[in-house]
């Protein structure tokens, strides 16, 4: 298997009036070609900053150190215009909130056409101006959109020509979500980042979107950010769990789900599993404050199995069987960092 994306020691900070926020701290992450990686973690753990950093859209945050090697090139070293060629054409994004991610002033067709123009002509202002055009575009454009929509199980559901003339507010959430996926696919990207693809949807649309994702992950590299365990389970081969700006556990999906090693992962998974049951276990304590870190492991104030060493030393990443864990419970004595 070939590595497509390899993130090493990525540090991202935000300078705010209240102080410096360390949103990502020494992230190590790897995604193989044609593999689907699921990224899990509670709100505010830094997953959003991580995937935005992959596209170098983390502003006003700054990447202070680390590398993001994609297909042999370090993205942190690219110029702005080189980076623009990566966005959409190499790495495409399916955003979380379908209700705000489409520009309300343009038709669906205009916005899909834009993705196509970017792919074929680059993202310059003149080459992509289509303010005046109907958005229905050429025959070839129509065919291509139809094909992609067909793949998204929308081909039979809607009349493509009519859909292209619609404005985002005239569509249902499920359709908008799939328009966004189609927009990402039209750029023929090597990798797709899907941010919470199922959270903002109703039940029926969620099931359909899951099917679509399932089909897509057969043929392309994907990074799915979600706390919907069903979505992760059905699509991902490997998972990574984030807490406090760090990846605290990563490994094959089945292995992590069946035998979570990090105490946080255990709690996180049990919370989600019980979400339809009656007794809700909870991760006690406050959500982490990313400005004033506790000394040592960032999870130790909330950790049910905290040891004295946890409040003194940041745990190193250690390999246990096929997974990687950053926890003192598994420390072997030698430190790697």
């Amino acid at each position: 298997m070939k590595e497509l994306l390899k993130v090493t020691g990525l540090n991202v900070v935000f300078d705010t009036p209240a102080g410096r926020v360390h949103a990502n701290r020494g992230i190590n992450l790897m995604v193989n070609e044609n593999e689907t990686l699921g990224l899990m973690g509670e709100s505010g753990c830094g997953k959003t900053v991580l995937f935005l950093s992959l596209l170098r859209l983390q502003q006003p945050g700054r990447i202070v150190s680390g590398s993001i090697v994609f297909d042999g090139r370090d993205l942190t070293k690219l110029t702005t215009s080189e980076m623009q060629q990566v966005r959409g054409r190499q790495i495409a994004l399916v955003p979380q909130d379908h209700s705000t991610a489409l520009n309300p002033a343009f038709t669906v067709g205009q916005q899909l056409n834009e993705a196509l123009l970017v792919r074929d002509n680059g993202g310059g202002l003149w080459k992509t101006s289509l303010i005046g055009c109907s958005g229905r575009g050429s025959q070839a454009f129509q065919e291509e959109v139809k094909a992609v929509l067909g793949e998204l199980a929308l081909g039979d559901l809607v009349d493509t020509g009519r859909l292209l003339g619609r404005y985002p507010h005239q569509l249902s959430g499920g359709i908008r979500q799939r328009v966004l996926i189609a927009m990402a696919l039209l750029g023929h990207p090597r990798m797709l980042i899907a941010d919470e693809p199922t959270t903002a949807l109703d039940r029926a649309s969620r099931v359909q979107t899951l099917e679509v994702l399932n089909r897509l992950c057969e043929r392309m590299t994907m990074l799915i950010i979600s706390h919907d365990l069903d979505a992760i389970r059905t699509t991902c081969e490997r998972v990574a769990v984030m807490y406090g700006g760090r990846i605290i556990e990563t490994g094959p999906m089945l292995s992590v789900f069946r035998n979570p090693r990090h105490p946080y992962t255990r709690l996180f998974l049990s919370c989600q599993k019980f979400s339809r049951g009656d007794v809700l276990p909870e991760v006690t304590g406050d959500v982490l404050n990313l400005i004033d870190f506790p000394l040592g492991c960032s999870f130790h104030p909330r950790c049910p199995r905290a040891m004295p060493v946890c409040s003194e030393l940041e745990p190193a990443e250690v390999h246990v069987d096929d997974t990687m864990v950053a926890c003192h419970l598994y420390a072997t004595g030698e430190t790697t960092c």
């Binding site: 596209l55 859209l57 702005t80 215009s81 623009q84 060629q85 990566v86 966005r87 959409g88 054409r89 495409a92 994004l93 955003p95 909130d97 705000t100 991610a101 489409l102 520009n103 309300p104 002033a105 343009f106 834009e114 993705a115 970017v118 792919r119 680059g122 993202g123 310059g124 202002l125 992509t128 101006s129 303010i131 404005y167 507010h169 966004l180 927009m183 750029g187």
Partner: protein, 325 residues
């Protein structure tokens, strides 16, 4: 509130509002000379007629509907106004409607291009200032436009005319043409005379709009669709001028409608300095001669212009923001 209305109902309620405004304005025109201190006869007919011979005065009174009870006078007045009979100018020796027709086109020749060019200038400058906010460019633009916003237009006109007309001699000292030219030469001549007043009005209009565009673009920059546009691989300028500015246009149109009266007043004032034969110069001369019918007619027609501008702004707004359709 209007969002829940049927479109036709919204148009109808708007139309009713406009009709009320017109009615109020005509009534004001009727009432003002009769309510204000002084003899209404003099207020309507002007001094010259008033101090003429009594027989002529009686004749004039009958002619201009100043005899009979007030309500009769009122309905006659209303009827005359709607027929397009707005009285007679003493100064120009012609019907008011004719005098206004002659001057209005020159005012519109300044105002309409200034509004479009000014909005364009504000859109570009405001977007750039928003993108490079807190930079020297932003501060420079803000300071320039704020100065133009603060200074009285007619004073700026005097300064411009002094510098570019008197000192440098690049542009003519006023009026619309320099003499008898026809065809293309006429157009070029008029264009040359237009440079200073139109330039000044354009920048003034942009000064009204600049902050609005800047602030809306800044707030639009936090929207998800802007992030999405960047993630698609669009260049910064494409994101800025296509996605952000496009959505800042609707507030721009609203401001244009609100500020239309101010920009029109500015035009009236600078016309006087540039001896531009528009409504402003006409009003100025009418004030000097106490030519009341002309002032009333000007008030009426400018109000109509305001209503038309509001109506157009409403239409354009709906066109710009698909969500309001």
């Amino acid at each position: 509130m209007e969002r829940h209305q049927h479109p036709a109902a919204a148009v109808a309620s708007k139309a009713v509002r406009y009709l009320i405004v017109l009615f109020v304005i005509i009534s004001l025109n009727f009432l003002l000379p009769r309510l204000m201190p002084g003899d209404p006869v003099m207020n309507v007919l002007g001094e010259e007629a008033y101090y003429g011979s009594p027989e002529v005065l009686e004749e004039l009174k009958a002619e201009w509907g100043l005899d009979g009870p007030l309500y009769v006078q009122y309905f006659r007045y209303l009827g005359n106004y709607l027929k397009g009979d707005w009285g007679h100018s003493f100064l120009c020796m012609r019907p008011v409607s004719e005098a206004i027709g002659l001057h209005l086109r020159w005012t519109l020749a300044l105002v309409l291009p200034a509004i479009i060019l000014g909005a364009l200038l504000a859109a570009i400058a405001g977007a750039l200032a928003a993108w490079y906010r807190k930079s020297k460019l932003d501060i420079g633009f803000s300071a320039t436009f704020l100065s133009f916003y603060s200074m009285p237009h007619y004073w700026l006109a005097m300064v411009l005319l002094f510098v570019f007309g008197f000192l440098l001699g690049w542009f003519p000292l006023g009026k619309v043409t320099s003499g008898d030219t026809t065809g293309l030469a006429y157009v070029v001549d008029v264009g040359w005379h237009m440079v200073l007043p139109l330039g000044l009005l354009t920048v003034s209009k942009a000064a009204y709009d600049f902050l609005v565009v800047r602030n809306s673009v800044i707030s639009i920059y936090g929207e998800d669709y802007v992030l999405m546009a960047q993630a698609k691989g669009l260049s910064q300028m494409a994101v800025l001028f296509k996605h952000a500015v496009r959505n800042a246009l609707a507030p721009l149109v609203t401001v244009t409608a609100i500020q239309f009266g101010a920009i029109l007043s500015g035009t009236l004032m600078i016309e006087i300095v540039f001896s531009w034969p528009g409504m402003g110069t006409m009003i100025y001369e009418a004030i000097g001669a106490r030519d009341y019918p002309v002032l009333q007619g000007a008030f009426f027609i400018i109000a109509v212009c305001m209503l038309v501008a509001n109506f157009i702004a409403d239409m354009v707004y709906v066109w710009l923001d698909p969500r309001t359709r």
